[in-house]
């Protein structure tokens, strides 16, 4: 169990998350306006989004399908009847004066997501439910000293609010959870998971307690927009709560905002000042009623998700748990890997991707999608190793060039004359030449200084320009020296 040390003893951290995931859909939840990111302010706003008089919401059924798909991907119960409710409050970027959400009957019920921890154990984090709701618009207060501006492009875009039970125990676990959830959403195609663009936002409920005791009073930290900030905010908040309690004070239930510049959470509102949202069923919309056939059809078309991919890689390709984990986590990586592994030895594919490819991606700080070495090109390279055309050493050099230029491995070998020499006659001739030029070293070797074997190998490699097959060199050298 991860515990945090205080002055008066150990503390257990308890975290629950509310994650707002923007549903991947071309149009909004209740209007046909576009959801494209980055449009000119107020260029993607329908009369419905602007809450003009007499305008009515019309449900985008694709968003319902996406929510169901997400629920199924999180092993969750799909509620066959769910209802939209109005959450009433006034704000300038909320044109209707209410947000259409699901409060009493949500579309997705309880589920879970399993996370892998540092010590190789794994843990189920329970999902309490998922509901569909509209996003609000954006208020801009920095455009003028006297006026605020409103951009309604985002207003009405569909969000899935994914709520967890308070099952997370550290900022590390929380970041593992968010990454895993993000990967699953991307696999499912239900949210692009882009935190910078606000497609994935997170509120964290944090409390502390002595191990084994009842839950403490929680504080909600709002609007965490990167995994790094989630970690920073949790770590700060945990220390703040420990310090307060150890001073003999009580934690007040409140909503706090994380200030990313100074790295501290600040009071937004206390529970006493919390708004009364006057939730009630939206009379403009009928309940969503789903049939078993509808749900089963979505279930049948779910993609293979990271957990089952990982198991398959371990079982069928004999990868280690670690290798299988990193190759299955991300949808793009997994599909790259599977393409390569289908054409060459999976172990070789694993090594080349996890060591060579990832190393270079990291160094260059680019993503797999931006990488010039496509799966097909990597297969080409590995084939040249497998059929002994080039040595592993040459392959790594080629890979560097391919990484820069996106060139074909076979073409490079041809151009640069890098084809490996496997003709034993040629190798023998060179070996004999090297031995003849170094009679003293040969003597020493035969006198018992066997370390010199490496010297001879190095000389042969050097004079062949690295193009000779190392195994053949070894064999021939051994036989010549033993004579």
């Amino acid at each position: 169990m991860t515990l945090v040390k205080g002055k008066t003893g150990d503390w257990e951290v308890v975290i629950g998350l509310e994650i707002h995931a923007q549903v991947s859909s071309e149009s909004k939840l209740f209007s046909r306006a576009s959801t494209e990111y980055g449009g000119a302010p107020n260029s993607q706003v329908s009369f419905i989004d602007a809450a003009m008089p007499g305008m009515l919401p019309v449900l985008n059924e694709y968003c319902v399908e996406q929510a169901v798909r997400t629920g199924l991907g999180l092993h969750a119960k799909i509620n066959k009847v769910s209802v939209f409710d109005r959450k009433n409050y006034f704000y300038a970027d909320l044109p209707q004066g209410y947000q259409i959400s699901q409060f009493y009957k949500t579309i997705v019920g309880e589920g879970y997501l399993e996370i892998d921890l540092e010590d190789n154990s794994s843990r189920k984090i329970r999902i309490r439910g998922i509901h569909l709701e509209q996003d609000a618009g954006k208020s801009m207060h920095d455009q003028s000293s006297t006026e605020s501006f409103i951009d309604l492009n985002r207003c009405g875009i569909a969000l899935m609010e994914i709520v967890t039970q308070p099952d997370l125990r550290s900022s590390y676990e929380t970041s593992v959870f968010i990454k895993k959830l993000r990967n699953i959403l991307r696999y499912l195609g239900t949210c692009d998971g882009n935190m910078e663009k606000g497609s994935l936002r997170c509120d964290a409920n944090i409390s502390i307690r002595r191990p084994g005791e009842d839950l403490g009073t929680r504080c909600e930290i709002k609007n965490l927009n990167s995994i790094r900030n989630v970690n920073r905010a949790i770590d700060y908040e945990v220390q703040r709560q420990i310090a307060l309690i150890e001073k003999g004070e009580k934690i007040a239930q409140e909503t706090r905002l994380f200030n990313t510049v100074i790295g501290e959470t600040k009071l937004l509102r206390s529970k006493e000042n919390s708004e009364d949202y006057r939730y009630f069923p939206d009379p403009d919309l009928l309940p969503i009623e789903l049939t078993d056939e509808y749900i089963d059809k979505i279930r049948a078309n779910l993609p293979e998700l990271p957990d089952s991919k990982k198991n398959r890689y371990m079982k069928n390709m004999e990868l280690t748990s670690y290798e299988a984990s990193i190759l299955s986590a991300d949808k793009e990586v997994a599909s790259y890997f599977e393409k390569v592994a289908a054409a060459v030895n999976p172990k070789l594919a694993t090594n080349w991707i996890t060591a060579e490819l990832f190393g270079r991606l990291n160094k260059a700080s680019i993503t797999l999608a931006e990488c010039k070495v496509t799966a097909t090109k990597l297969i080409g390279l590995i084939h040249l190793i497998e059929d002994n055309t080039i040595s592993g050493k040459i392959a790594k050099e080629l890979f560097d060039i391919m990484f820069e230029t996106g060139e074909d491995a076979a073409k490079l070998v041809e151009e640069k004359g890098l084809k490996q020499i496997i003709d034993t006659g040629t190798i023998e001739a060179l070996v004999e030449e090297i031995l003849a030029n170094n009679p003293d070293k040969v003597e020493e070797y035969k006198g018992g200084k066997e370390k010199l074997f490496g010297f001879f190998v190095g000389q042969v490699m050097k004079h062949s320009g690295g193009k000779m097959n190392p195994k053949a060199i070894n064999d021939i050298l051994k036989s010549k020296l033993s004579k």
Partner: protein
């Protein structure tokens, strides 16, 4: 020949087809009536020039043999239907400068049939009221007066202006909306036919919302037949309103051709009493006998939860209204009261205080209260339960009968100066007989039946099962013939 504006729609359509007069001449006779009766304050916005253009187009259509179902018929439209490029106010100061860039589905449908709009009619602000005096544009006046009296009477509400235009021959028909009786009650007070189709029959797209689960478009006409023509033009599925029904449309024409033999008509016992005017009670009994003579079987039925209807309605409707009216905040359109240095909240407060009338404020406050945490279960949930019970009441009744005959109101039109009647709670009770059909989403019609001893019209209500508009029209058409009510307000 009768003045053109006194013809029925059906007669007029035939005459226009036969080129007995033109759409422009027909319009002209209505414009004269509109201009002569401005003291009734029936219109908030007249669109007479636009109407002249449309009438010319209609004449062209007749000339080319392209006339549509209601080509050239002059109609007035309650000012809650959003009309493209024509100011739409909902009789509220907060929308007094609002011109929609879009057209409601109902007006789109009507205009598509060739109807010529005369203007946007007065109403109680946001359709909240039964007198049409809660209007930011002043009260509308009933063309009827008590015999020998000059005292102005209320036309009923909220669709008072629309009812007046039809009763005073300023239009041949009109659009209204009915949430708890806002078409039927003014129809009854003004001596005309008012029909509200089943909830879900007409699209609510483009109608300024009051209480979404109850709001429904309706029509006013001077005969059941004309009401059928207008209703047929506005009913139908619309994918822009999620609560709009795909249920097959009834054939009102063939329903009206049928007699009452074989029909069972229920008399709900709970509609007796409740302060019902004895003259109306007597008329109701009389009408029941007429229907029996026509061959209908009269059956006593019970709707035991009727007595909770008004209370439950005045929880649900304000609750929905409090949320529906939140959008009028001065941010994007409509009135904005802003003085330099005001915060956003202060701007909201100033705008809404200035923009809403007292009755709207009262209902927003009631609605906000009944949805508040701690009160939700006691009020809103409870009212929803009552509503379900009322639906069940009707379901059981319609297992036994095809239609119900009831009074529309407990009394006839009253004066604005009548302190007792004008008390807010007394006004809420005006809807006691119209609310139940609204709560259950049923089609219902008010039919003018008779003048009372003081010379004021009394209406009767026919209610049928959900989506059985045909049964309403079948009973109403026969009843209309028996009642033979053919009186217009004096001087109109």
């Amino acid at each position: 020949m009768k003045a053109l504006n006194k013809l029925t729609i059906r007669e007029t359509l035939q005459a226009l087809k036969d080129k007995k007069f033109s759409s422009c001449e027909l319009l002209e006779s209505h414009i004269k009536a509109v201009e002569a009766n401005r003291d009734l304050n029936a219109f908030i916005t007249e669109t007479l020039d636009l109407a002249k253009e449309k009438a010319k187009e209609s004449d062209l259509k007749y000339l080319n043999g392209e006339a549509r179902a209601l080509e050239g018929i002059p109609v007035s439209v309650k000012d809650v239907f959003c009309t493209k490029d024509v100011r739409t106010t909902a009789a509220s100061k907060i929308l007094s400068n609002f011109t929609p860039p879009y057209e409601s589905t109902i007006t789109t449908n009507l205009f598509g049939k060739g109807v010529v709009m005369l203007g946007k009619t007065n109403l109680d602000e946001f359709a909240m009221g039964v007198t049409n005096h809660y209007s930011a544009f002043g009260p509308a006046i009933n063309p009827w007066k008590e015999t020998g009296s000059k005292e102005n009477l209320v036309p009923g509400g909220s669709s008072g202006g629309s009812a007046i235009t039809v009763a005073a021959h300023m239009s041949m028909g009109a659009l209204g909306t009915d949430t708890g009786g806002s078409v039927r009650q003014p129809a009854s007070f003004c001596g005309i036919v008012g029909f509200k189709p089943s909830y879900g029959r007409c699209s609510r797209y483009g109608i300024v919302a009051f209480a979404s689960s109850l709001d429904q478009a309706g029509v006013f006409a001077r005969s059941v037949d004309d009401a059928a023509l207008l209703s047929t033009a506005i009913m139908g599925y619309d994918n822009k309103d999620a609560t709009c029904s795909k249920e097959e449309l009834p054939n009102l024409e063939s329903a009206m051709d049928q007699g009452l033999k074989g029909m069972k008509i229920g008399i709900p016992k709970e509609y007796h009493g409740a302060g019902l005017d004895p003259e109306i009670e007597a008329l109701w009994a009389n009408a029941k006998e007429m229907l029996r003579k026509e061959g209908a079987e009269i059956v006593d039925v019970t709707l035991p939860h009727t007595k909770y209807g008004v209370a439950a309605y005045y929880v649900i409707a304000p609750a929905e209204a409090s949320s529906n009216l939140a959008r009028y905040d001065g941010v994007r359109y409509g009135l904005r009261e802003y003085k330099e240095g005001m915060s956003l909240d202060e701007m909201y407060e100033a705008t809404r205080t200035e923009g809403f009338g007292h009755e709207v404020e009262r209902r927003i406050m009631i609605g906000t209260y009944v949805l508040s945490s701690g009160f939700y279960d006691a009020y809103f949930s409870q009212a929803q339960r009552v509503r379900k019970l009322m639906v069940t009441d009707f379901k059981l009744a319609f297992d036994k009968v095809d239609a119900l005959l009831t009074p529309v109101t407990i009394n006839t039109a009253f004066a604005l100066t009548d302190k007792k009647q004008m008390d807010p709670i007394a006004l809420y009770l005006n809807d006691v007989f119209t609310i139940p059909a609204s709560m259950a989403g049923l089609p219902a019609m008010s039919i003018p039946a008779k003048l009372n001893g003081k010379g004021l019209p009394i209406g009767l209500q026919v209610i049928a099962n959900r989506f059985r508009e045909d049964n309403v029209f079948r009973v109403a058409k026969n009843l209309e013939r028996c009642l033979n009510f053919k009186v217009s307000p004096k001087g109109y």
